[in-house]
């Protein structure tokens, strides 16, 4: 008989419901408005490494959103003030112990804040669930140097590539800096992080995505981006948001050029977002947090399937 049973236990599902209600209570008490924006849109993301699922609605191609970011920024530009979203997001090709192609995302934007204020709020949300989790805050550069001896900003590409190749037990040729940095961070820096919540900020400028650029205290160009790691598992990614429409369009186009070079299908740029930025996105910081992963750490479970009511059957994906 086909195994029709849920993959999470009933106790886990009760804790899951409790977590969702605690998150809502946190933001309702902190002056952010819940917005349940659509998961379907005319465009996906241009990001080289995120593939949106596509479907057809009344014969027209629609993209399942990999994050509610563009809709939320349009709301901010329309005067919403600080907002949060708690719902589903979708990413094709992402399946594993820490990934599922549909997952629950908490994303929120604070108008008038920068990334450091937002990191502090993220820490207070996470530690409200488990006060025993310690919080540490580090610059990307410092963690990277401590784990590898290399400076992610100034080390020659050849050295970065050698480091990535030896960690991966395979040769990387001609790979751009960002790919090698990602690999080194995953294989060498993440395992070296302490338990608890670790906030990592001042990312290399080549990893800006939708963050503003700035300079760190050493004068290196950095992205005003941060990530949060909980018990060495990536939990959240945030930005002091880019608000300049010309720079946004330039990054979309750079992404599309990379997609084309990689043989991936093009994605239309979100003109609604660009128009909203033209009209004026207020200064804000935003962050997206994987709720399934937070639940895994809260309950001490090692596989995302254990916290999903119905995980995809084995054999579809590892």
């Amino acid at each position: 008989m086909t195994d029709w049973q849920p993959t999470a236990t009933m106790e886990t599902l009760r804790q899951r419901a409790r977590l969702l209600s605690l998150i809502r209570a946190f933001f309702d008490g902190a002056g952010a408005l819940e917005v349940d924006v659509p998961v379907l849109a005319d465009t996906g993301v241009t990001d080289l490494h995120i593939d949106c699922l596509q479907t057809r609605v009344n014969g027209r191609v629609q993209y399942l959103q990999s994050s509610p970011e563009y809709y939320m920024k349009r709301l901010l530009a329309a005067g919403s003030g600080s907002i949060y979203f708690l719902g589903r997001a979708f990413r094709d090709g992402e399946s594993g112990r820490r990934h599922n192609h549909e997952f629950t995302l908490l994303e929120w934007y604070r108008q008038g804040w920068d990334e450091h204020q937002l990191m502090a709020e993220l820490a207070s949300l996470v530690t409200s669930l488990e006060p025993a989790w310690d919080v540490e805050k580090h610059r990307y550069t410092d963690l990277f140097k401590r784990a590898t001896g290399l400076d992610p900003h100034s080390a020659p590409l050849a050295d970065i590539r050698d480091c990535a190749s030896s960690l991966a037990d395979t040769r990387f040729h001609g790979d751009e800096r960002s790919t090698c940095l990602d690999l080194i961070f995953s294989l060498a820096v993440e395992p070296s992080l302490p338990q608890g919540l670790v906030l990592v900020h001042d990312y290399p400028a080549c990893q800006a995505a939708l963050a503003r650029l700035g300079r760190d205290e050493d004068g290196n160009p950095v992205a005003r981006r941060f990530e949060a790691f909980l018990n060495r598992m990536e939990l959240a990614n945030g930005y002091f948001e880019l608000t300049d429409p010309a720079e946004q369009r330039r990054r979309f186009e750079a992404d599309l050029a990379l997609r084309k070079a990689a043989g991936k299908p093009p994605v239309p740029c979100d003109e609604y977002l660009l128009s909203a930025l033209e009209a004026g996105l207020p200064p804000c910081a935003g962050v997206a947090l994987g709720v399934d992963r937070l639940l895994m750490q809260w309950l001490g479970l090692g596989d995302i399937r254990d916290v999903l009511p119905f995980a995809p059957a084995e054999g579809g994906h590892d």
Binding site: H49, L183, E234, D318
Partner: protein
Amino acid sequence: MANYSTNEFRSGLKVMLDGDPCSIVENEFVKPGKGQAFNRVRLRNLKTGRVWERTFKSGDSLEGADVTDLDMQYLYTDGEFWHFMEPDTFEQHQADKNTVGDAAQWLKEQDTVVVTLYNGAPLSVMPPNHVELEIVDTDPGLKGDTAQGGTKPATLATGAVVKVPLFLNIGDVVRVDTRTGEYLSRA
């Protein structure tokens, strides 16, 4: 052979890596931040038995390996080769010492074993988990010593030497776990 992309990697999938057939042991999807996704893969080299850990960019692919596991009957050895037969087709295969490896000490004629074929030729031989073999040499048994738990070495019909309880004698048949080389019981 077909090519397999990282999203088709499963444990047990046989692929070619650096010219050798390998079996995937574990495949972990790693996706840092906004970056390139990777697959951390552990593979067992089927020639050497060594386990490799390799990282692939998600979407990379490996050529499938023409590797199949078949149940075969062990026939005999002529000293140089060990001979096996497919029970359905009666097709015979011969494997050299290198291929048979440690399995040789557990092979009893007529037993069914798993022979792994690579491009149609034997690559490795896996004996049954449990075999029953006759003791051909050991010190004389000590009557009444069944409770003491002492052991002594015994040479079995296939040449394997295992530790057996003191009360067993030449001519007794014992069950042995081939994975650990340990005596299980009297057969």
